[in-house]
């Protein structure tokens, strides 16, 4: 018996995507799908292949192999029709600074083919959605970073896309603006928008997305719900140590301790560890650090989370 879900066309399906530059394969057999109304997060360190993957999804780059279907439409076969279904928020603030937000929106509205008689009303709606109704006639150059980011999102909503792709949408904004942007994104998902979200901020992905793909060195190394990814860790905990002294030597020593699967230097005085049975292993960890003449000034044991799963799967922190 077919259910309603069986009949739904996925918002996005990509399979076996490959992109090579010369001898270097920057995207290697990437595949995932996003159901209608689903929020999917794509996590990966810098250079993992996220932006190249997104460029192929939105039709900017031609894949060397594989396929992308947006709302059932093959991007390679009918890029124009597929692009109509996508709202793309690039990592850069892609707006003309000399023009007002309204003029920028009018420009993109016309590129998206919105009829002139509808466009003014639609511009007013998206400006209201991002909370900029009263600043729409100001030049973008005079906006704060957060306002520019919100306008960047407004452009992508203009033509009522079914799939919203956000590439690092909160880079460089203050915490207050970040909260406002995340609230808006959550609201869009609640209204049924399908979402592909990439970010350096794990907490953003944890908050907004129901399913996550982890991409590393051009390959999707894990794909599932947050619960599924964390479950892969088994009884692994994350331990954060703050040290006074040579952190590299301390990390080296900590890797020799039984039960430590990862030890990554995350700052000038901090080390992140993945350990089995974190709380019971603490005395051994402290003793190992003491052997290196470094002094522990802070300890935090964190229950398994997405950050720990990411570290486990990629061997690096997200901000590496």
């Amino acid at each position: 018996m077919r259910t309603r879900e069986d009949d739904m066309t996925p918002a996005l399906v990509c399979e076996g995507l490959v992109k090579r530059y010369g001898d270097k394969t920057v995207v290697d057999q990437v595949g995932f799908h996003i159901d209608e109304g689903e929020a999917y997060g794509l996590l990966g360190p810098n250079g993992a292949g996220k932006t190249t993957t997104i460029s192929m999804l939105v039709g900017l780059l031609r894949a060397d192999a594989g396929s992308v279907r947006v709302g059932g439409i093959d991007v390679a076969e009918d890029p124009v029709a597929a692009k109509r279904l996508i709202g793309f928020v690039p990592q850069e603030i892609a707006l003309y600074p000399e023009l007002t937000a309204r003029e920028n929106l009018r420009y993109f509205g016309r590129l998206y083919g919105i009829p002139r008689r509808e466009l003014s009303g639609r511009i007013g709606e998206v400006l209201a959605t991002v909370g900029l109704s009263d600043r729409g006639d100001d030049k973008v150059a005079n906006y704060s970073g957060g306002m520019k980011r919100r306008t960047n999102i407004a452009v992508a909503l203009l033509h009522r896309p079914t799939l919203l792709i956000l590439d690092e949408p909160t880079v460089g904004v203050d915490p207050q603006s970040r909260v406002a942007i995340l609230d808006q994104v959550e609201q869009l998902v609640a209204e049924g928008m399908s979402l592909l979200y990439t970010s350096h901020y794990m907490e953003e992905v944890e908050r907004v997305c129901t399913r996550v793909g982890i991409i590393d060195r051009g390959r999707v190394v894990a794909d599932g719900t947050k619960r599924e990814l964390v479950a892969e860790l088994g009884g692994t905990d994350r331990v954060e140590l703050v040290l006074d002294g040579d952190v590299s030597a301390a990390a080296e020593k900590l890797r020799t301790v039984d039960g430590v699967s990862e030890a990554v230097v995350t700052g000038t005085s901090s080390i992140r560890l993945l350990v089995t049975g974190g709380r019971h292993l603490l005395p051994a960890l402290l003793a190992a650090v003491a052997d290196t003449a470094a002094a522990v000034t802070g300890v935090e044991v964190v229950e398994p989370d997405l950050e720990a799963a990411f570290l486990h799967l990629t061997g690096s922190t997200l901000r590496d």
Partner: protein
């Protein structure tokens, strides 16, 4: 092809251009300042205007009277009498006179007062030389007739007869390079049209680099519009800016400086082709440089050098043969030749077909390369 995206892109780019106050100053004000100053240096007015010349002479002297009569009949000159040589020198120094002529009674060696660096002075000298030459010829003919045995009355009659016959003899222009070459504003207006259209096109390439750098081009390419339309819109925006600047210079120079550009069809074709080349050059600069600051740092100096080679800053004859030859590798020389040729009376499109063919070829090559490179670079950072 849907025209709406193309219009949207052009409107947005033109808005950006209009809001760039420094850019607008260089586009609107600067060309006219240059046309006026260089025009005054090269002749002071358009080619058809008369040159002011002062003469110090004693009217009772028959030779001086004859020279004065000849100068007075010259349509290219406005002759005024001066009392002293110093008065003439002061007028030439101040630029109120193109030249002056001092004729001392009984002395047939006249003194010409002019500035060697003034184009109008050169032009006035040539007119004065002709007038003095005519009088000298009459005197020489009269002397020869008297030497041959004629009475002074007979000699005068012979000379008058000879003058009547010589009036039927005229010299027709063979269309050589220097014949009737425009001076003054008639030269500086087309020269500055080419110079500033090209230089400003290169300068506005900064906006193109900015569009690429901030990801506007990339984001536009991600909309449901064919890539070719986005590229065409970017090129069309630059072409319209170049064309608008050209039209502004043409119309203002026509109405303010009385410049006659010649056959409108020919001028339109030449200017349109030159604007296409300038557009291609701007797209190329916009594609190749990495920051918006680099475009105005690189483009205008290149435009000025090409303008020098093409005769846009000074007449090419001043530059000499080697530089003139090198100049023909670039569009300015060809466009300058075409515009100067079209300004000659009776010239039309047919007179400049070789120049048009070369300019069209250059436009195809430069634009083709520019669009290919720009597309590649716009998509390079994805």
């Amino acid at each position: 092809m849907r025209p709406r995206p193309l219009t949207a892109l052009v409107v947005a780019n033109l808005r950006r251009q209009l809001r760039d106050r420094v850019g607008m100053f260089f586009m609107v004000v600067m060309p006219f300042v240059t046309i006026v100053f260089v025009g005054l240096a090269l002749g002071g007015s358009s080619a058809d205007a008369q040159l002011p010349v002062a003469v110090v002479a004693d009217s009772s002297d028959p030779v001086a009277a004859a020279v004065l009569a000849e100068l007075g009949s010259d349509q290219a000159l406005v002759v005024q009498r001066a009392e002293t040589e110093e008065e003439v020198r002061e007028g030439v120094r101040q630029g109120t006179l193109a030249a002056g002529l001092v004729m001392h009674p009984g002395d047939y060696e006249f003194e010409l007062v002019m500035s060697q660096t003034s184009g109008s002075g050169m032009a006035a000298r040539s007119e004065i030389d002709v007038a003095v030459g005519k009088v000298a010829a009459v005197l020489e003919a009269t002397r020869a007739a008297v030497t041959a045995g004629a009475t002074p009355e007979q000699a005068a009659e012979y000379v008058r007869a000879a003058q009547r016959e010589s009036a039927e003899v005229s010299v027709r222009s063979s269309g050589g390079e220097d014949d009737g070459a425009p001076t003054g504003f008639a030269y500086t207006a087309p020269a500055n049209l080419l110079l500033f259209t090209f230089v400003n096109s290169m300068a506005v390439a900064a906006a193109l680099v900015e569009s690429r750098r901030i990801g506007m081009v990339r984001r536009s390419l991600a909309t449901p519009v064919r890539h070719g339309q986005i590229l065409l819109g970017e090129a069309l925006s630059r072409f319209l800016v170049a064309a608008a600047q050209s039209l502004l210079i043409i119309f203002v120079s026509m109405f303010l400086f009385d410049v006659d550009w010649g056959d409108p069809v020919g001028v339109s074709v030449v200017v349109a082709l030159f604007c296409l080349i300038a557009t291609g050059a701007a797209m190329l600069v916009g594609a190749l440089v990495n920051s918006p600051q680099q475009a105005p740092a690189i483009g205008p100096p290149v435009g000025i050098v090409l303008g020098m080679l093409g005769g846009c800053l000074w007449p090419r004859e001043v530059a000499g043969e080697p530089l003139t030859t090198i100049g023909y590798l670039f569009p300015h020389s060809w466009a300058m030749d075409a515009l100067l040729a079209l300004a000659r009376p009776g010239a039309n499109l047919g007179a400049v077909l070789p120049e048009i063919a070369v300019l069209a070829g250059m436009a195809v090559v430069v634009l083709g390369i520019a669009l290919t490179v720009f597309r590649r670079r716009a998509l390079a950072n994805v």
